[in-house]
């Protein structure tokens, strides 16, 4: 019995289809090091430490085309390459496990069910950048993941995969499991580093980028859990194998967290470029819309990505295809809602979240998200005024691109797309002082 009852598609994983992250996530013993080693675990780290230079590891990951799975999609190998050569300062690696974007719950399943895969990926990345102390920053609510990662770390030390002179290869590596305090902003890498330094979790102005000046003003690489978990597979099976999956610009596989009004919400690992429609309707994945109602819209990449309308869902799940329809792959959190969902209600939920999570450093985001929540709230509660839609658009325009970190953009992009796609419904809400669609969702 697993701590989290989430559905996965582990049974579908095979060598033939290239899926790999979820191979053992339904194996109730996989979190134990004996089982992980039995399944070939830590062979990639051994290979790296005993037969590859750090540069060769970075090159291999660059060649694989692996891109960051936390939301930004930045090429992982290229990021590692930004660490200055010849610097005498310590270098740090930080695995970003502050999974907090509404809709996203994929890293949690990896940490809970295959924690050693995360540690092995982290250790390989650490070696590649010349780091001797690595961190995993886990959101404080995930007590079970924290316990699992702590236990796995202790096992890895005991079996010589961490610590001094690993495999006799002359490489030392220590690890710290760090826990957060319940702040979405700390998933943004510079806020995460401030938080890790014991400061308030507020983002930093870039440049300098963390790869040059990050934790304790030293070169630091921050990578997402899922990104790092893919690294041992790339080392074991090669960059060419990884590149053979997906498309040229979106290589490999991706875990999608499918939630909302679908029959089978769950975490599904699929090859990049998988059809969104199939993810929602195929009985092996989402199984269709709850109550066989009509689809109204989809948020394809987490609460910060622009909406798709039903005529747009014939899209492939990869970075470039979603960009082509004006949205983003983000963290891979697909949130589905059916015809009886009021768009104003959805947006009020989202803006409440972003207003609450704004760190307060930049005025446009701090003040703007509060104004937006106020205006959208009054529309939802039947007190909207003529001109409110235009005011929402103006405020959004004054936040977008004017903040230090992407939280401001994240807050307004879904709103802008919702106003664009469902403008009539917003008008209706203001004029008739109520929802066009019923919005009370029952709870079984």
């Amino acid at each position: 019995m697993f701590y989290s009852p989430v559905i996965t598609n582990a049974s579908e994983v095979s060598d033939a289809n290239g899926l790999h992250l979820f191979r053992y996530v339904e194996d109730a013993q996989q979190h134990r090091i004996e089982q992980y080693e039995q399944h070939g675990g830590y062979s990639a780290l051994r290979k790296v430490l005993t037969s590859m230079t750090p540069e060769a590891v970075t090159e291999e990951v660059k060649k694989s085309g692996l891109r960051g799975r936390g939301g930004a999609g930045f090429p992982a190998g290229m990021k590692w390459g930004f660490v200055p050569k010849g610097s005498t300062k310590p270098r740090y690696l930080c695995c970003n496990a502050d999974e907090s974007e509404p809709g996203t719950c994929k890293d949690r399943v990896l940490m809970e069910r295959d924690p050693h895969a995360v540690i092995e990926g982290m250790a390989i990345a650490a070696y590649a950048i010349g780091c001797h102390l690595m961190f995993i920053y886990i959101r404080g609510e995930f007590n079970h993941c924290i316990d699992r990662m702590e236990a796995a770390m202790a096992e890895a030390y005991a079996r010589g995969h961490l610590g001094k002179n690993i495999y006799g290869a002359g490489y030392d590596l220590d690890m710290i499991v760090h826990t957060g305090g319940g702040a979405y902003i700390c998933g943004e890498e510079t806020a995460l580093l401030n938080s890790l330094e014991g400061e308030r979790g507020m983002s930093r102005i870039r440049p300098p980028f963390p790869a040059i000046e990050g934790l304790y003003a030293c070169p630091t690489i921050v990578n997402n859990v899922e990104t790092l978990a893919a690294v041992p597979h790339i080392i074991n099976r090669g960059a060419d194998w990884y590149r053979s999956l997906g498309t040229e610009r979106s290589t490999g596989t991706k875990v999608f967290s499918l939630s909302g009004h679908v029959k089978r919400p769950g975490n599904y690992e699929v090859e990049m470029s998988f059809p969104l429609k199939r993810l929602i309707y195929d009985p092996a994945y989402g199984g269709g819309i709850l109550g066989d109602k009509k689809l109204k819209g989809v948020i394809p990449g987490g609460a910060s990505t622009p909406f798709l309308t039903p005529d747009m869902v014939d899209v492939k799940l990869d970075y470039e295809s979603l960009a082509a329809v004006g949205s983003m792959l983000g963290s891979g959190a697909v949130i589905v809602f059916h015809e009886e969902t009021c768009i104003v209600w959805v947006i009020l939920k989202l803006i409440h979240f972003f207003r609450h999570e704004s760190c307060g450093k930049c005025t446009p985001c701090r003040e703007g998200t509060a104004w937006l929540e106020q205006i959208i709230g009054r529309i939802e509660h039947g007190q909207g005024k003529a001109g409110d839609i235009e005011m929402i658009e103006e405020i959004c325009g004054n936040i977008l691109g004017r903040t230090i970190c992407p939280l401001g953009d994240a807050a307004v992009m879904p709103i802008q797309s919702a106003v664009k796609h469902w403008r009539d419904e917003w008008q209706h809400h203001i004029v008739h002082r109520k929802c066009q669609s019923p919005t009370t969702f029952a709870f079984a």
Partner: protein, 158 residues
């Protein structure tokens, strides 16, 4: 002293691993909050002494992070996720149901000091919605029947 010897030992062990003492603030507050249930100035003062970081730096950081209640709460802190994925599957109705069952409103603590009910931002249980966290534990795929059972169990545990 509010902090137990065990909490102090845990905080010291954790702090010793960091290159800079200040980095131990969040882990130390986490340990303190697990013991006490909430945080306040007296606790910051004690944490400051244990990890040798000025009081003001502890208080400054602590006030930013919502995970730590700053006022006493009931024995069981019920945190219901009310964000989009949970809301689409009835989180608002779940909050109302809990309010009814506990006889308190959101933000309140029951008269017997057993339960405090609050809503929180996304818990990362989006594919197992609706969900809530009670103290350290997650409860997911919630139904009325499950909620009844969970509350009964917690009452018996007292």
């Amino acid at each position: 002293m509010i902090l137990s010897q065990d909490s102090i030992r845990q905080i010291r062990e954790k702090a010793a691993r960091y290159p800079h003492a200040k980095s131990a603030i969040l882990p130390a507050l986490t340990i303190a909050c697990r013991q006490v249930g909430h945080l306040n100035d007296d606790i910051y003062e004690e944490v400051a002494q244990v990890i040798n970081v000025p009081f003001v730096e502890i208080a400054e950081a602590a006030s930013f992070y919502t995970l730590f209640p700053k006022q006493p709460v009931g024995k069981y802190l019920i945190q219901v996720c009310h964000n989009i994925s949970c809301a689409l599957l009835g989180a608002d109705a779940l909050v109302e149901y809990l309010e009814q069952k506990l006889g308190i409103k959101k933000g309140e603590t029951s008269a017997d000091n057993l339960f405090t009910l609050i809503t929180v931002e996304c818990l990362g249980s989006c594919c197992t919605a609706p969900a809530m966290q009670i103290n350290q534990d997650f409860y997911e795929n919630l139904t009325r029947e499950k909620v009844d059972h969970i509350l009964d169990e917690l009452r018996v545990r007292v």
